[in-house]
């Protein structure tokens, strides 16, 4: 009963705070660029505004085009609720491991790319092609990061990984340091952040994610933006779970929940500020440098794995 309650609580929590995380990152970026910023609640206002509008669809849009925002939102919500965020005692987490998690991200990517090509605009097709270019390189890197953490804790289940890393004496893992850098690079690429893609533009010819969703409006667009926020949150919580799992509540320990909640907010605030800093100090790279960037991420993840086997730690 307890675990079911926790699962529902986490589901509600992630879907509600995801836009706030996005708002916080944007706010930090505004501060770093010496602007006053729109506040952390701006993404909510955007979503409400979009939900009140009437949707416009292209004449030749197929049912796939209409279904995609819902599939995207559902899979991102599922991904975010699978990661142990505040407690490890989650019934859903036991059903899937990290490989299935990568699969869920892949499912969402396939559908958004198909929907982008569905209407037949050149921008959408171009965006889908680029998304696939980034995705096919980011996915193996993400898997290797997971495998490094999995070899340390002898399990591919995210819950077991978190429990092993969080509740034992502090050990420095050089392999996890490599994996962490690789993971940050994958996070930047997968969430369309600055060195790979610019989330704040609708004008550049180099855009990837925005090019795919140009044809969407109103509630569909709102769902897609909400799904992007959920994806960012899911990546952040995966990062927290793998590389700084401290403060998470153990199974059956309800008293630790407030501390875990506080720890989650502190970690998200720090991570968001870090992301904003990273985005401010780096320049967007040429699109054909992206394969090299993702290749480096994959290489770092492989190195982490090799070092784990060499040093045994």
């Amino acid at each position: 009963m307890n675990s079911l309650f926790l699962q529902l609580f986490q589901d509600a929590l992630v879907v509600l705070i995801a836009p706030m995380l996005l708002g916080w990152v944007n706010q930090c970026r505004a501060w770093l660029q010496n602007r006053s910023g729109a506040g952390v609640l701006q993404p909510y206002r955007n979503l409400i505004k979009l939900f009140h509008k009437d949707a416009v669809l292209a004449n030749n849009a197929s049912p796939l085009f209409r279904a995609t925002p819902y599939i995207l939102f559902a899979s991102m919500w599922l991904a975010a609720s699978l990661v142990p965020v505040i407690a490890t005692d989650l019934p859903l987490s036991k059903a899937v491991d990290v490989i299935a998690l990568v699969g869920i991200f892949a499912l969402a990517r396939v559908f958004i790319s198909l929907a982008a090509m569905d209407v037949g605009t050149s921008f959408g097709t171009m965006g889908a092609r680029r998304e696939m270019l980034v995705g096919f390189l980011a996915e193996p890197a993400l898997l290797m990061v997971f495998f490094t953490a999995a070899t340390i804790s002898h399990s591919t289940s995210l819950v077991t990984i978190v429990e092993t890393l969080a509740h034992r004496q502090f050990v420095i893992y050089p392999s996890l340091a490599f994996a962490a850098i690789a993971f940050i690079m994958v996070l930047l690429a997968e969430n369309a952040r600055i060195p790979v893609d610019n989330p704040a533009t609708h004008l550049e010819l180099t855009m990837i994610h925005e090019a795919m969703i140009l044809e969407y409006s109103a509630r569909h667009l709102a769902l897609i933006e909400w799904a992007s926020a959920l994806k960012l949150l899911a990546y952040f919580t995966i990062g927290c779970a793998l590389f700084m799992p401290w403060g998470i509540a153990e199974a059956g320990n309800l008293a630790a929940l407030p501390v875990a909640l506080l720890a989650l907010f502190v970690k998200l605030a720090l991570g968001g500020a870090g992301l904003a800093l990273l985005e401010t100090v780096t320049a967007k790279m040429r699109i054909f440098r992206v394969p090299e960037f993702m290749g480096t991420a994959f290489l770092l993840a492989v190195l982490g794995m090799l070092i784990h086997f060499l040093l045994g730690s």
Partner: protein, 219 residues
């Protein structure tokens, strides 16, 4: 499980390997020099940790010498050199960078396998890191092979010396002081001579691209 200093040494070894890869993928000469200085710094800190944990006092001198020579003097000379030669160009590589990185991974696997039986014989606290040291040497070697300009090749040579030094520290707590002093002097003098060479090469060929050296042979 290792104690804290063992873990720290492993962490620094991993950082050395990471810096070697960063140098391999670096396109700009200035960043390359800064990375070389950083590598020297990590080497000095890790040597200090080894010296502290094994109470080998001569390693403190080695660490101090590394700090002085490889973090301060050599990068300063290199900075001066590229300012005088006015070369801030993007480094040209023979292969594209991802291919080089893949070759690098293969080299790392090779070095790890090669070092595994040797490090089982060693009795030092740092024996696990021998594989990383060898990988650093091989990666610097690869960097020398894949770069066509003179300055990156010299930086590769110096980075290789860093790797050798780290290998000596990890297998046998460093070399005798006389040998270390000799090597340090060698590197310093070598740097001066190579610096003079740079000017001569540029004067003769109007470029620091070593491909032009092929013209020197007689048919």
């Amino acid at each position: 499980m290792l104690n804290l200093s063992g873990q720290l040494i492993n962490l620094f070894a991993a950082m050395l390997l990471l810096i070697s890869f960063a140098m391999l993928s670096q396109r700009r000469v200035l960043s390359l020099i800064n990375l070389f200085a950083l590598q020297g710094l990590v080497l000095a800190v890790s040597t200090t940790v080894v010296a502290y944990s094994s109470s080998q006092h001569h390693l403190y001198y080695s660490a101090g010498m590394t700090l002085l020579l490889k973090v301060l003097v050599l990068p300063w000379i290199l900075h001066r050199l590229i300012r005088k030669l006015n070369v801030k160009w993007d480094v040209e590589t023979m292969f594209n960078i991802p291919t080089t990185m893949l070759v690098g991974i293969v080299l790392v696997v090779f070095a790890f396998n090669l070092a595994a039986p040797i490090s089982q014989l060693a009795g030092t606290i740092t024996r696990g890191t021998l594989g990383i040291a060898m990988a650093c040497v091989l990666l610097s070697f690869l960097m020398m092979i894949t770069r066509s300009k003179a300055v990156p090749q010299v930086i590769g040579f110096l980075a290789m010396e860093n790797g050798l030094f780290f290998a000596a520290t990890s297998t046998s707590y460093g070399m005798p002081m006389v040998v270390e002093l000799g090597i340090a002097l060698d590197v310093l003098i070598g740097m001066f001579i190579l610096g003079i060479f740079f000017f001569q090469i540029r004067e003769t060929f109007d470029s620091l691209d070593l491909k032009h050296m092929e013209k020197l042979k007689e048919d």
